[in-house]
Amino acid sequence: MQMRSGRHLPAQQSALAFLVAAAFVVLFVVLSSTPGYAIPAFARKYGLPCSACHEAWPKLNSFGQNFKDQGYQLNNDRDSPIWLNPSYWPVAMRITPHWHYESLGHQSVDSGDGTVEQTIKTSGFDLTGIDILAAGTLAKNVSFLLVPSIDGVAGTVGFESANIRLDNIKGSPWLNLKFGKFELDGPLSEKRMMSFSNTGGAYQLYHYVPAGDINDFTVGENQLGVELMGHSLDDHTRYAASLISSTDGSLGLPGGRSYDGFVHLSQGFMAGKLGLQRVGVYGVTGLRPTYSLTSGGEPIPGTGRGNKSFYRAGGYGNLYVGKFDLAGVYQHASDNVFLANGTPANGELPEGAQGATWNIGTFEGHYLYSPKHFILGRYELVRMSRQPLSDLPSDYGNIDVFTAGYRFYPFINSRAGFAWHIEFSTLKAVKTADSGADQRSNSFFTGFDFAF
């Protein structure tokens, strides 16, 4: 099937391929260090078992989603912190010690004068990063979330989340204002993802950009900004609109001088005995600078110039059939030609340059045999519809990822969460090797996920 060998690829493209690989590695390191949210502090506060709010933690059920949408409140007059024992501290932690096996196919390796491609395999014991989850209410209808995250690999402490939320403004569930750093209200929560491995631990849906694209925006990363969110009392109708800094959640001076906008609308409805189904649409658009002012050749922070646009738009359905649920998301993405080719807006575009567009489908199925046994299957496919360079093969950079996992929760109480996690994920990226071959990555991950 291979149309060309890598040797015929232009040098630029080879470099791009490397960039893609590097980007993936960085992405996975970052993402696998953030296991996400399941907050036993709430279970302790309200005395509810994890299973009351989580279908299987960290995935929320409709009751948990409603609890979150109400500002971590049950609205039974016991939400204010005054009801708590003074020694209660709303802090929980989560980490996942694990063993994993990784295999990366068609990696360029130096050999004598040239390079050869080979599969790199490794395995070993490891830790995810630790999430310190502090969340609760400061007063009735004033809630907060603070998630300092320690990344053991980079040795850094980050602020995964830090936000304050004014809930039920004017007594209406339709008006809630969140301010700070928070996860965008997307169709699937990456912070509550049920897979952790290097290959399957992040949504392509949220992170994929073509090779060489310098747009750093991701729906999955927590963003800095303000969110207006509202919902009906039973949570069947939900909306969220966010205005966010164009920094993809990074602290410090913004690169550009623009803001991104995100909207999400969804509607749940009862389908007879099948239960609650949900459909929704979402979109995000923004600008990214393509170059900075420089001083002595060095870029000056906060001086991004040459803004170029991008957007992501999608629709989804979330179907529940008894113990089985399936989420299907379709998303169309478009990046401006300057972003897609990594070219400054005041520079010269390479020949054949064009705006990149691509489509992503994500199908995630869960089978909850009981609250103790959770089975995951996910299939994601990325299909380029317009390459950033017209002479690239039309399927260059296409991706297929399949992830399967199982989680076992031996006990469920209101104090802590504990799960044995096992997962396998395999990814194929089309023609991304230097040789032009398809690259396959496999991950096997097993470990103990706990939060307390």
């Binding site: 005395g47 009751f63 609205n75 039974n76 039973d234 008894g322 113990k323 089985f324 089978y367 045999y369």
Partner: protein, 301 residues
């Protein structure tokens, strides 16, 4: 290639969906092992939901002795007693399913019982079916007939005044206090049927979004004192109050919620405020002291 894969995937998904739908119909939807024989499918599903949502407070045996129970005030309901606070049925009778479902939807104000509104209607029906397995009374007795609530009478200052007289005559103030602050002479001594201390409702605390334990509307208030709140000191007044009197009392009780916007408060304010009721308060106290027959206002209007 791609197309073929998508078709494969679709077939797989459909097969999986159909499989789980069949499993659902087999009556094991919650996925829990069967705890005891003889459960109906609804009870079986309710059992799974109960373990997921309710068990830590209400306990495995439904006796209100879950792990959290010692830390909760008021204590969780004991389903083995089959005594329920919020009923549309007379005191001492079992509630209707719709009463229990209503409690699940609302939650119970000023307790740790949250609103289970996000669950589906079927979930709630299943939970109610399961909760009813905890007491034999559900097998030997039928729920009572819902009390009839006639249409509300118009809110008027006369109605509020008559309601105020009833508040005196029925001695609501013994527990709830003259201002409805829950500070009547007997308030500090009250215990529920499990000998746990319990406070009378404080009307003055109410704000615009306040609810009662068993609802938030005028007809909920009517229902609460006519059926009583079983398991608590709050008795039923159904035998001693005519429907029109009851509406008068509802209208007066609303004026005790001084911080809450209501028609009743507007009418009272237009008529000169709570002070205009004071004269009748003295009169009624004098009456009851002087006239030992305690001539009652019997709603013949």
């Amino acid at each position: 290639m791609m197309k073929r894969r998508m078709i494969c995937l679709s077939i797989l998904l459909i097969a999986a969906t159909a499989g789980s739908a069949l499993a659902q119909n087999a009556g094991v939807s919650s996925g829990y092992p069967t705890p005891k024989n003889g459960f109906s499918p609804a009870e079986q599903r309710g059992h799974g939901l109960y373990l997921r949502y309710c068990v830590l407070c209400h306990g495995v045996f439904g006796d209100g002795n879950g792990d959290n129970a010692p830390f909760l005030d008021p204590r969780p309901r004991d389903f083995t007693a089959a005594t329920f606070k919020c009923r549309s049925t007379p005191t001492g009778t079992l509630p209707l399913d719709s009463d229990l479902i209503g409690t699940l939807v609302r939650g119970v104000q000023a307790t740790n019982m949250p609103s289970w509104r996000p669950l589906t209607d079927e979930n709630r029906q299943d939970l109610v079916a399961y909760i009813k397995t905890f007491s034999e009374r559900w097998k030997t007795e039928k729920p009572g007939d819902a009390i009839k609530i006639p249409p509300e009478t118009p809110v008027s200052i006369e109605s509020i005044r008559r309601g105020h007289e009833l508040f005196q005559k029925m001695e609501c103030w013994k527990c709830h206090g003259q201002q409805g602050r829950g500070d009547g002479p007997s308030a500090s001594t009250l215990t529920d049927s499990k000998d746990q201390p319990i406070r009378p409702y404080n009307f003055a605390m109410a704000r615009n979004d306040s609810r009662f334990k068993c609802g938030s509307e005028n007809q909920d208030l009517y229902r609460i004192f006519m059926t009583g709140v079983d398991g608590t000191p709050m008795p039923s007044f159904a035998d001693v109050m005519q429907p029109n009197d009851a509406w008068d009392l509802v209208h007066y009780l609303r004026t005790l919620q001084t911080e809450r916007r209501s028609k009743e408060n507007e009418v009272l304010k237009a008529a000169g405020g709570a002070a205009t009721l004071k004269s009748s308060e003295n009169k009624s106290e004098n009456n009851s002291a002087a006239d030992s027959n305690g001539k009652t206002h019997s709603g013949g209007h």
